[in-house]
Amino acid sequence: MTTDTPAIASAPGPGRARRVATWLHGRPRAQLRLLLAAPLLWLVVVYLGSLAILLLNAFWTSDPFTGKVNPFDGSLDAFVQIFNNDVYRTIAIRTIGMAILVTVTDALLAFPIAYYMARVASPRMRGILVVVVLMPLWASYLVKIFAWRTILQGNGVLSWVLTPFGITGPGTDDIASSWVVFSYLWLPYMILPIFAGLERVPSSLLEASADLGARAGTTFRRVVLPLVFPALVAGSIFTFSLTLGDYIVPDLVSDAKFIGNVIYDNSSLGDFPVAAAYSMLPIIIVVVYLIIARRLGAFDSL
C-alpha cells in the first residue's frame, strides 16, 4: 500500500497527460466521446462513406461505347435494366437458395461434432478437437478452393474414386460443386459458435429433463435446441452472408453465375451503375438478416 501511493503520485507523463486524465475523470460523457471518436470516424467516414459513393453510381448512367460513367446525371436506368431482365431474378434466387442450402448443410454437419466436443469428449480430447477444428480455418481460403478444384476436375481424385462404380461426380463446371465447396469452407464458422453454445447448457437442466421423464429426443428438441438456437443463428450469419456475396467459388468450381459474379463482372467491365444497383440487393438482404439475428440473440453468441 505505502509503496503503491508514491508510484501513483509519480505517474509517468506528469503535467498534460495527468491533467487530461483528471479532467476526464468526472466527465463520463467526454470519456465516451473520446472513446467512440476514432472507431466511429473510421467506420462512418471510411466505410459507410465509400459505400455511399458506390451506391450513388446506381443512379448514374454509362456511355455504351466508351464505357465511361456519367456522374450526377440522375437516372434510374440501371434499376430498370435489372427489373426488366429476368436473369437477375434467377441469379438472386439461385444465390439465396444456395446460401440457405449451405447454412442448413453446415448446421447438420456441425451439430454432431459440436455436440461431441461439448458434451461427450473428455476435457483433454475437447482441447485437441478445438485445435483440430480451428486449423482448417487458418488454411488459406483460396488454397482450400484450389484443393477442391484438383479433387473435382476431370481425372481428379473424385473421378478416380467414382469411375470404378460407373458414377460421375460433379466436375468443376457444376453448381453442385459450389455447394460442396461452400459447405466445406464455412463449416468451422458454424462448428465453433454451436460448440460454445452447447458448452453453456448446464448439465443440471438436461438431468432435470431426464428426471422428469423426457426421452433423449424430447430433451434435445425442447431443452437443448432452444438454448443453442442463438448460437446456431450466429453461425448462420457467416454461412449465409459469406455464400451470398462470394464470386470466387462459383467462378472456380462452377460455371454458374451468382450475385457476387454479377457485381464483379459488371464492375470489371466498367458498368458501375448496374453493379451498384444490383449491390443493393445483397446489402438489404444482409441487413435484414442481421436485424433478425440480433433479435434472436445471435450477437451475444458470436
Binding site: 486524465a21 476514432a38 467506420l43 471510411v46 466505410y47 459513393i53 488454411a139 464492375s267 436485424i291
Partner: protein, 267 residues
Amino acid sequence: MVESRLVRIGLRLATWFILGFLYLPLIILGIMAFNESRFMAWPPPGFTLDWFGEALANPAIPQAFVNSILAALVAVAIALVLGTLAAMAVQRFDFFGRNSISFLLILPIALPGVITGIALSTTFQTFGIEFSLMTIIIGHATFCIVIAYNNVVARLRRLPRSPEEASADLGADTWITFRRITMPGMRTALLSGALLAFALSFDEVIVTLFTAGAGTQTIPVWILSAMQRPTELPVVNVVALVLVLFSVIPVYIAQRISGGEAAGTRV
C-alpha cells in the same frame, strides 16, 4: 441427459467423418505438392521435389509474403485500437445508439467482400488516393475491427468492475486505471482477437484485389494470379502446403493463450 451408448458411438463416428471431410482437401494438397504432373493429374504419375525448387527460385513469393505480413500486422494494430475503444465505450457506458455500434461494426464482415472492395476502390480513385500497401491495410483494418471488438466486449463483460472502482477510489486517474487494472485483464482477449484478425487479414483476397496497387501483391493475390498461369500451378501447391503447415503455429499459440477457455477465440 446422459447420452446413451448408441448415441455416443454415433456421435464419435460422425465426428471422425466430419474431421475427415475437413482435412481431406488439405491432405490431397499435400500429396499434390509432390505430384510430378504439371497439370495435377491423378493418380500422380510420379513424385518430385522440383516444385519446391521452383518456388524457392521465384522472387515474387517472398515479396508477397512480406506484404501479407506487413499488411496484417498494421491492420491488426489499427483494428485492436479501434475495436478496444469501441468495446470499452459500449461496455462501460449506456448511450443512445449503443446497440447500433455492434451492428455497424459487423457490417464490413457481413456484407459481401466484392461490395466492400468496389466501394473502397472507387472511393480511392475518386479522391486520387494511390493504391499501395496502405490502401490494402485500410480495407483489412475495417473488417478486422469487429474481431477485436467481440473479443474485448466478451472479456469486459466478465471482468469485475470492483478493482477498477477500487483503483479510482485510491486516487488513480482514468489512464492509470486503464493501464494497470483493465489492460492486464484484457490482455489475453486482445491476443486472441489479434491472432484471429491476423489470420483473416493474411487470408483475405476479395477486398485486397480491389485495394491493391498494380505492383503490390499479397500472398492470396499472388496465388490467384499464379493459378491463372498454367506452368505455375505446381508452385501454387507448394506455397499452399507451406501455408497450411505454418498455420499450425498461430493455432498452437492461440490455444496456449486461451488456456482454460476451450473455445478461445470468438469469431
